[in-house]
């Protein structure tokens, strides 16, 4: 081989190595070389294993109802956040009531999350999206534990029921989940979407006009007096009773909640949604949420909204809670999957009472 040919071959090899290096770096960035990297699609897959695939529906909180109203701020929130919507005045709200789980035809009479999701639009166009559950704590602290919980409690194909051994094994490794399980078992279940208290689940950073940052959790506390369901008779209730009930209430009068902000004190866990804050933390009532309309989801204004908790106005930022980026990513993947699928009305939307909407 003469010298010119070997020099050319060497240079060709160098070009090949450079191209290969770029490709390998890209594959690494993409996670193709890291099968253990947990991506949002892995979590959505686990939800689909747990609840099946229901084309056109959200992969979690599949059964829902669109709602509309306003948030009227009283101005007290400006002490904690410079977000425009805390200044006195009202902003429009589009939201959604839902029950937990990924099955759009599941009956309402279950031991399950009641949830409210909201999208508040400030005058300057910024949005604040949130998805709240009626439990003050969440079942897991990390995205990986959430995925593992879905897989551990997925129905066994042979029996159609979760394998108690796998569930027990999960709880051995995740004692933090026991507190949630106990709460679901022991806490009284609200009789209506209207009289539930809803919690932000995660803490967020609130930044005031002076630039000072505090960790805050918030809740929506109903004006409607609390009534509990009899947990022993849940199975006898009509399948859509929660949704029918709230539509009927909204035909009579608007429903109201107070947004209560709770500020973390030193030592309070701000990155772990499984741990409650002490009950004596002072709360600030920053304004009133009024819901006055409801409409079935497939034509309602909430259908296309992703209630991504990281869509925040200036003045509110994410905390270091690892669940937050996961919620954001999982909701985006769920949106991509369901939006590409043909729509079949949910059980709630087929119910004529709910179709009529309110008012």
């Amino acid at each position: 081989m003469n010298r010119i040919t070997s020099t050319v071959l060497l240079r060709l090899a160098l070009i090949g190595i450079i191209i290969l290096a770029f490709t390998a770096g890209f594959a690494f960035a993409a996670g193709w070389l890291s099968p253990d990297r947990l991506g949002p699609a892995d979590i959505v897959d686990s939800l689909q294993i747990h609840d099946g695939v229901h084309p056109g529906f959200r992969r979690a909180h599949a059964k829902g109802l669109c709602i509309e109203g306003t948030f009227l701020a009283n101005g007290k929130g400006t002490a904690l956040s410079k977000a425009q919507l805390f200044t006195p005045g009202d902003v429009p709200v589009i939201g959604r009531f839902s029950t937990g789980g990924g099955q759009p035809y599941a009956p309402d009479g279950r031991l399950v999350f009641h949830a409210i999701a909201l999208s508040l639009t400030q005058a300057n166009g910024e949005k604040w999206r949130m998805a709240l559950d009626d439990t003050p704590i969440f079942l897991v602290a990390t995205p990986l534990a959430f995925r593992d919980f879905q897989l551990a409690t997925a129905p066994d194909p042979a029996t159609g029921k979760p394998d108690p051994v796998r569930t027990a094994d999960f709880l051995v490794h995740h004692p933090e989940t026991r507190a949630f399980m106990d709460w679901i078992r022991d806490a009284p279940l609200p009789s209506s979407f209207a009289n539930g208290t809803y919690y932000s689940i995660n803490a967020f950073r609130f930044i005031d006009a002076a630039g000072e940052t505090r960790h805050v959790r918030w809740s929506l506390v109903p004006e409607t007096p609390f009534e509990a369901l009899d947990k022993s008779t849940l199975a006898n209730l009509p399948p859509d009773f929660l949704f029918e009930d709230v539509v009927q209430r909204l035909r009579q009068s608007p429903l109201r909640w107070h947004m209560m902000l709770t500020v973390a004190q030193p030592g309070d866990p701000v990155d772990d949604a499984t741990k409650p804050w002490p009950a004596d933390r002072p709360q600030v009532d920053v304004g009133t949420l009024t819901i006055n309309r409801a409409s079935a989801e497939e034509n309602g204004p909430c259908r296309n909204i992703t209630f991504d908790p990281l869509i925040l106005p200036s003045g509110i930022s994410p905390s270091d809670d690892p669940l937050l980026p996961a919620r954001s990513g999982v909701y985006a993947v769920s949106l991509t999957r369901r939006d590409g699928e043909p729509v079949d009305p949910s059980a709630a939307s087929k119910n004529p009472e709910i179709r009529r909407g309110a008012p």
């Binding site: 050319v8 240079r11 060709l12 160098l14 070009i15 450079i18 191209i19 770029f22 490709t23 770096g25 890209f26 960035a29 993409a30 996670g31 990297r37 947990l38 991506g39 949002p40 979590i43 300057n124 166009g125 910024e126 949005k127 995205p143 259908r303 296309n304 909204i305 992703t306 991504d308 990281l310 869509i311 106005p313 200036s314 994410p318 270091d320 690892p322 937050l324 980026p325 996961a326 954001s328 990513g329 999982v330 985006a332 949106l335 991509t336 999957r337 369901r338 939006d339 590409g340 699928e341």
Partner: protein, 178 residues
């Protein structure tokens, strides 16, 4: 007799290398941010959006420079298929430099996401809120990004082939120095 090698105008050469760095960084950020639910995801996305708009602006500037400036011709002895491949790949690169930010912007609009760049500064939606459109554009954004990455690799390979194997002045026409 050695041919006199013309270079691209200096402004175009500088924008080329700046965009090369930005676009490659952007491809790595983009494919990385959607692969994880870790805290990296949030800050990579916050970087991805303003960087995409910056690339769109630079692409517009670059297209103007390219259309108004003088372009050095490819060597006469370059095989016709390589000339055709060069022109076609440059067209694809320009098209994708515009398409990716525009698809991303329209996609977020269709998904009902606010297009937050920094602080309270938002871009207006670039299209209607439309679920089916979001699903299509979201997948298109990934596919076009993969196509861009592959085209950039081909471009890089060809550039180095000109620089080290053919040594015909084509690579020199784009280097930032004289």
């Amino acid at each position: 007799m050695k041919p006199v090698v013309a270079q691209f105008p200096l402004a175009l050469r500088l924008v080329h290398w700046l965009m090369a760095a930005l676009v490659i960084a952007m491809l790595f950020i983009g494919i990385g941010m959607v692969s994880t639910v870790s805290e990296m995801r949030t800050w990579l996305i916050d970087l991805h959006k303003p960087l995409g708009i910056l690339i769109l602006c630079l692409a517009a500037l670059r297209a103007c420079l390219r259309l108004t400036g003088r372009t050095p011709p490819l060597p006469d002895d370059l095989p016709i298929w390589q000339k055709a491949a060069a022109h076609a790949s440059h067209l694809v690169l320009y098209a994708l430099m515009f398409a990716l930010p525009l698809v991303g912007w329209t996609m977020l609009s269709a998904g009902g996401y606010p297009i937050a760049l920094f602080g309270t500064f938002h871009l207006p939606p670039l299209g209607p809120v439309d679920p089916m459109l979001f699903a299509i554009l979201r997948r298109a954004h990934t596919l076009l990004a993969l196509l861009l990455f592959v085209t950039i690799l081909a471009h890089l390979g060809a550039a180095l082939f000109h620089a080290w194997i053919r040594r015909d002045g084509v690579f020199r026409s784009m280097v930032p120095w004289r």
